[in-house]
Amino acid sequence: MKSFKMAMPKTLEGAVKVLGFDFEKRQLMAGGTDLLGCVKEHIAEPEVVVNLKGIPHLTDVVKTETGVEIGALVKLDDLANNKEIQQRWPALAQAIAQTATPQIRNVGTVGGNLCQRPRCWYYRDENYHCSKKGGSTCYALEGENEYHAIFETGLCQIVHPSNMAGPLIAYDALAEIQSPQGTRQVRLEKFFISPDMNIERENILKPNEILSKILIPNSSANKNSCYYETREKQSFDWALCGTSVSLKLNGKMIQEARVVLNAIAPRPIRRLDLEAALTGKKVSKRLFKKVADMAVQGATPLSKNSYKIELLKVVIERCLSEATEA
């Protein structure tokens, strides 16, 4: 591992100042589990690591009048075991409980999970100067692409590795961003970007900006919500396909729906068309099958991952069923 210096800011304002203008030279660290992996693989070689652990209140989960505010440095395990989250936003707790391992969840943070770099093996291999690293080729396009995207393919075939992003988007979460000019809030849905917006990054953060907290509105609390994913391994694995749904039901009638798909594209994707197809309809297996079929229309699988199409359909049907049975 290449040596680095460590900056220990005491405020978010101090942290953004010390970050500067170059992603490569000065990098943020929350829990560090992903960053250290990148440094060991020589795909990140920061001169200065800006450690956020000295900044107070970033580990707080605060109930406000409008909802709950989750600091970027809240540990995954703490959030998954938070009773309020489990009861009111169950899909979020479900997603986190399936993330990584107990050891990683005790160190990994909310902000770090949402901002982790992709798991594409060409990206993670220093010998491949891929388009995400400033090169001109995506090696997955013609290569080993069984774990890659089936939507928004073409430029870069990664899938976004965060599974908790899905439920957070389904719950209309906001991201608060600290920049040198101050703070701003954006919908988490708009926080993640496609490769055509910036192939080298997965979100809108600039080099001197920090995701400081996540806000979930009270209005999105819903027991009829669910996160469902499939993986090859039961532990320490990333999803092959994932779905988050949140349904507002009146008896058997779906009054409102949120559907977000993850691990199938370079960003988590909210599907307004599926939400519209569910809204105003009565809960039924037939409806869920129709929606699942609709979801994969327009998919552009790569040479080795068309299995994800059938898998995604099953995941969507199961997720919808579990949400209505809750």
């Binding site: 680095f4 460590m6 220990m8 100042k17 010390v18 992996g37 990584a100």
Partner: protein
Amino acid sequence: MSRDNKATEETQGVTRRGFLKGASFAAAAVGTGSLLPPPQTASSQNEEEVLILGTEETKIALTINGENISTEASPSTTLLDLIRGPLDLTGSKRVCDRGSCGACTVLVDGKPICSCSYLALDAQGKNIQTVEGLMVGDKLSPLQNSFVSCDALQCGFCTPGMLMSCTALLEKNPNPNREEIAKGISGNLCRCGTYQNIFEAVHKAATGGGK
């Protein structure tokens, strides 16, 4: 490594461990932090000056197995490098070095973490427990005893990490069922596939059979 092996190594002159130790101390320059201004130019007097440490070693204090320790580590030193290197606690194993196998598991304030993916500087002021801290005097812990009696190891490389994850599990849940044990060790990989015996050992320790 047994004491005998170590003695043999030392008689051969320069040992790998001895060499690494010497090298790390030689590299330990005056380990004090510096106060650097931010990279941007304009800064008013009220603005925070951010402490920047390294790249050389800096003093840190932590508690390991109940003992207060003052030592030095550079910002890029992992907790695993610190405990296996200068502190010579080689029970925790480096296997994948990426947080996926759990062989390096130690407890930080009672919670299992992968020490390969955790910086030594972040362990400052924390209470660290390694596999070396499980014994009471010269007696094995009940869990260690039940690992022995249930044959819960083959090659033994995953064992220190398994023991730490299971110790944390039993601390939180003194009578775990099979599913809870499986969840508790879901971050520890055993390439020999001894999971069945590990389940039995944890169950035995939980029900008082390891004493």
